[in-house]
């Protein structure tokens, strides 16, 4: 649910390259080692020289100071930004007060009916229970604040995204601009968006809403364009034959035909918006996200998990409902649903007029105390089990001294910076070609010129370790699950849960168990990215055609041989997609972990977000994060394409 699979079609004609892959890879590797050795011997380059820093921070800080001191007087604000902000703020508040005006019972009922209509009776019952649970947990008002903000954000995304998608379909010039822009927007960790918006709009619901829109916009634009492009030519011709103008054809034929794709885009946009709930709370979104942040500040694992579960419930309901709308088929239940909907609507207005809007307090129940006593127990007993030197505390120390610090030192000063850029260029050349190579080289150099080299290497070291750990656990589980339907069915809700739960909620228990520093962030990001690793591995292996299995078996291959020599190579491109997704998820999480001792670029970005005197540096760190994300993303996608065998047909 995290993102549209960013898979590009294979470059084609790569059969030779694919066959010669391992040998060429070995050559590349050897070349890189030589390169590093040469630099190490011939020069004294280490960390990127600080004197080359182009110093973007100062102008940004000056701009910020100008902005805040002119906020009450300059025309940009008085004529344009302030009215815009006020209008949107008004809309969000109106929606929120409307949502709260309606009686509480109509929400579980409407949700239940909606899911019954789109997905059947069981889903309906679960929906009813889910919404009630949010009320029972005492998060009713917070849930509405979140719902109102997300609602406006999704509406604005559609109002911008659908026309933009149409424009991109209509004109190649527009598509040429939108596509790379959307690509970049999707690779940026959500956290990075916040800095420029705080700069422009200050603090509150509106900047939170706008950054949510930017983060969530891509799928609806992209899928509107794709949907329009795939409308069959014959249908369009038929409509033209009837003398329809181009506009009419678009409105009456193409758009209705593209509806399923547009709905899919809406669904993904909604899901992306939901994943911003906690992050947006950093700049004043309020609602459930704020509860999570407060719980994190008071290290209240129970409270954080309650709010986290409320967010998961909301996301799952929205997901199931919006994917079901396009294919809703309630069959015989339709009259009953309609009848009940009318009754509920009448009941809603009646209850609203009677002022029954508060969720009854008598129905409250919390599970936070149980979770808290469990984590207290874990903190006291797992930290160093029986004083044996085994436990989360010693483990955390071991990983820090044996892995994190050596790797960080290797990347930031062990490998001289020109060699690091060289490695990037060679990898790019090998994976795709000169364009990617130049891009990677330029991006790495830019990171250095921003004065972010050391911090970036710190972050990169954490990312690499977390990726290795995630794959070491996730790929085997994925392999098992691809061979075992029972396991897969059992895993699915667990994976869904961990993928939907806001990443911050995972940080809270981890910081109580492990030493402060980089370990909590690394562990939380592994947990966060595991579902993607399992899911894509499973998916890749399941796509290997059964005839291949049978052929391998008829040659007398054992199960292990079959897996190693047949299935894994065939599934390699999917596995690379898994790697790509895992890297992007982990990078986003490691950045967030800057908040709890993770250091690196994340700390700089957080500081920029929260200290007026550090905005400039935060901004630079944000750019470095984006560049790092872009490099890792393009590189892994290029490798995935390389591994993709030429089309079988």
């Amino acid at each position: 649910m995290t993102a549209v699979d960013g898979v590009r079609p294979g470059a084609g004609g790569l059969r030779a390259a694919w066959r010669g892959g391992p040998a060429r890879f070995a050559l590349v590797l050897g070349g890189m080692i030589l390169l590093v050795a040469a630099f190490r011997i011939l020069t004294d380059f280490g960390v990127f020289p600080e004197s080359w820093n182009i110093g973007l921070a100062d102008p940004i800080d000056r701009a910020r100071r100008w902005l805040i001191t002119n906020q009450n007087s300059h025309w940009l604000y008085t004529v344009f930004l302030n009215p815009l902000t006020d209008t949107m703020d008004w809309a969000i508040r109106r929606l929120e007060s409307l949502l709260k005006w309606l009686p509480w019972y109509c929400y579980p009922l409407f949700t239940g009916l909606g899911l019954w209509w789109t997905r059947g009776r069981i889903a309906g019952a679960l929906g009813l229970a889910g919404v009630t649970l949010i009320g029972v947990l005492g998060l009713w008002n917070e849930a509405f604040a979140t719902l109102a903000l997300m609602g406006v954000a999704v509406l604005v995304s559609m109002a911008i995204g659908i026309p933009l998608g149409i424009a991109a379909w209509h004109s190649d010039a527009v598509a040429r601009i939108t596509r790379p822009t959307l690509d970049t927007m999707q690779t940026m960790p959500g956290f990075v968006y916040l800095i420029p918006f705080v700069l422009l709009f200050g603090f509150g619901r509106v900047p939170a809403m706008i950054s949510t829109v930017i983060f969530a916009l891509a799928p609806v634009v992209r899928l509107t364009e794709v949907g329009l492009r795939t409308v069959p030519q014959s249908t369009v011709e038929a409509s033209e034959m009837f003398g329809a103008t181009e506009r009419q054809t678009l409105r009456l034929v193409r758009l209705p035909q593209a509806r399923p794709a547009i709905f899919a885009g809406m669904n993904q946009t909604t899901m992306l918006a939901m994943s911003m709930v906690v992050i947006a709370a950093f700049i004043g979104a309020g609602g459930l996200g704020q509860v999570v942040l407060q719980a994190m500040r008071s290290i209240n694992v129970g409270k954080a998990s309650e709010a986290g579960i409320a967010i998961v419930v909301m996301a799952i309901i929205l997901d199931r409902f919006s994917t079901g709308v396009a294919t809703a088929d309630p069959g015989d239940d339709l009259p009953a649903i309609r009848w009940l909907a009318v009754v509920t609507a009448v009941g809603a207005v009646a209850g609203g007029l009677a002022g029954l809007n508060e969720f009854p307090k008598a129905l409250g129940w919390r599970f936070a105390p149980y979770v808290n006593s469990l984590t207290d127990w874990a903190r006291d007993n797992l930290y160093d089990i029986g004083g044996s030197g085994i436990g989360t505390g010693p483990f955390s120390d071991f990983v820090t001294t044996q892995l994190v610090i050596p790797l960080r030192e290797l990347l930031s000063s062990g490998i001289p910076w020109p060699a690091m850029i060289g490695i990037g260029v060679v990898l790019g050349l090998w994976a795709r070609g000169p364009r990617l190579a130049v891009g990677i080289g330029a991006a790495l150099a830019a990171i250095g010129l921003l004065g972010m080299w050391e911090l970036s290497m710190d972050t990169l070291a954490q990312v690499l370790l977390a990726v290795a750990a995630t794959l070491a656990v996730g790929v085997p589980v994925g392999i098992m699950s691809s061979h075992n339907d029972l396991l897969r069915t059992a895993l699915r809700p667990v994976l869904d849960f961990f993928q939907t739960i806001p990443s911050f909620v995972l940080l809270v228990p981890v910081i109580t168990l492990f030493h402060v520093g980089r370990i909590p962030g690394i562990i939380a990001s592994v947990v966060y990215a595991l579902p993607a690793a399992v899911h894509y591995t499973d998916l890749g292996l399941r796509r290997v055609p059964t005839e291949t299995h049978e052929a391998a078996e008829s040659f007398g291959a054992t199960r292990a041989q079959r897996l190693r020599q047949v299935e894994m190579p065939l599934a390699a491109p999917e596995l690379m997609v898994a790697v790509n997704q895992v890297i992007m998820l982990i990078l986003a999480m490691v950045v967030i972990a800057g908040l709890v001792g993770g250091g690196g670029l994340g700390l700089e970005a957080v500081r920029g977000l929260r200290r007026s005197d550090a905005v400039g540096r935060g901004f630079e760190a944000g750019i470095a994060i984006v560049l790092l994300a872009a490099i890792l993303d393009r590189l892994t996608r290029a490798v995935a394409d390389r591994l993709r065998p030429p089309a079988a047909v």
């Binding site: 200050g202 603090f203 910081i511 520093g517 007026s612």
Partner: protein, 328 residues
């Protein structure tokens, strides 16, 4: 096929139209319920990420609602971000500003002609930021009582962790706080490294964990704080504060202790006109360090929520807050 689809679409749009109309009608009903125009009835107060701030705001919010009939919205915001928000009127007031970190903000938003923020007087408590450690550390190594002790790599090394290697670990909290530790450590040449734990609760959790094992811990902390009731903590004597030393802050030259913080309140200048009673109340509000500590201790040690602690205090001290209510 063409005609069928057209009919479907028009029927679809009609249905959507009806739904939109219904929503619009409901919005109008919703508006009638709560009219936000005219004189201001909702007061937005900044809550900064530490319990003292939350306690002040809880007291103010409960009294503004029960005694003066306002609605109060509490907004979690960092101490730096709040200035711009109060300047534009997005927020109305903040009740516990620690001046040591905000000289620039005071100049930009209070003293400057463009500024739209007023100093609304003192909240009462006087704060001190500093470096703290469990007292058992000083008992074992008396040299640690002053910063010179930490200049000794061996003694500083007692505080080393896996994360910091040979250097001693200095725990700092939320990166948004007023923090000069990087400058102090660099300028005094101390073999220490800063690790940001992220929050007040994070420092307390790490302290609790170290304290239970009698392990070393060195961290950024402040008084007034209820933790001093639970843990025996000693402040490290850094070179004494001087204005001259802090004047070098922008150039990174601070090498002395934090100043004493006389905590004060700030309000938006628009508030006096838009909600005069709330403005008068917030300006008058002031209580003692003991009053605040009493609430903090109820929150941190007895597990009360901030609002429960505030309600308890309000119940017990009508003579204190009675003086804040404007006579009308």
């Amino acid at each position: 096929m063409y005609t069928v689809r057209t009919r479907n679409t028009t029927r679809g749009s009609r249905r959507i139209f009806v739904v939109l109309l219904a929503v619009l009608a409901l919005i109008v009903v919703g508006c009638a319920e709560d009219d936000s125009r005219g004189s201001q009835t909702t007061i937005k107060l900044a809550v900064n990420p530490w319990n003292g701030s939350a306690a002040n705001v809880a007291v103010a919010a409960q009294l503004l609602e029960s005694e003066l009939g306002y609605t109060v919205e509490r907004v979690d915001i960092d101490e730096n971000a709040q200035w711009a928000a109060i300047n534009t009127g997005d927020l109305d007031a903040s009740l516990e500003v620690w001046p040591s970190g905000h000289a620039q903000n005071v100049a930009d938003f209070i003293d400057s002609a463009d500024g739209n923020v007023d100093n609304a007087g003192l909240i009462g408590p006087i704060g001190e930021i500093g470096w703290f450690m469990p007292t058992y550390m000083v008992d074992q190594h008396p040299a640690l009582a002053t910063w010179e002790g930490f200049a000794d790599p061996e003694l500083a090394g007692l505080f080393a962790t896996a994360e910091t290697g040979d250097k001693g670990q200095f725990m700092s909290g939320d990166p948004s706080w007023t923090i000069y530790d990087e400058q102090i450590i660099a300028n005094l040449n101390l073999p220490l490294e800063i690790v940001y734990v992220g929050s007040e609760a994070g420092i307390l959790a790490a302290l609790d964990s170290a304290y239970s094992r009698q392990e070393p811990a060195l961290f950024y902390f402040w008084t007034p704080h209820s933790a001093f009731n639970t843990y025996d903590l000693t402040r490290v004597a850094l070179p004494a504060y001087s204005d001259a030393c802090y004047a070098t802050g922008d150039a990174g030259g601070i090498d002395c202790d934090y100043p004493e913080d006389v905590l004060f309140k700030i309000v938006s200048r628009d508030l006096a006109e838009n909600a005069p009673d709330a403005d008068a109340f917030l300006r008058a509000m002031s209580y003692s360090t003991a009053d605040q500590i009493q609430m903090l201790s109820a929150i941190e040690n007895d597990g009360l929520t901030v609002d429960e602690a505030a309600a308890q205090w309000i119940e017990a001290n009508p003579d204190v807050w009675g003086a804040w209510i404007p006579s009308s």
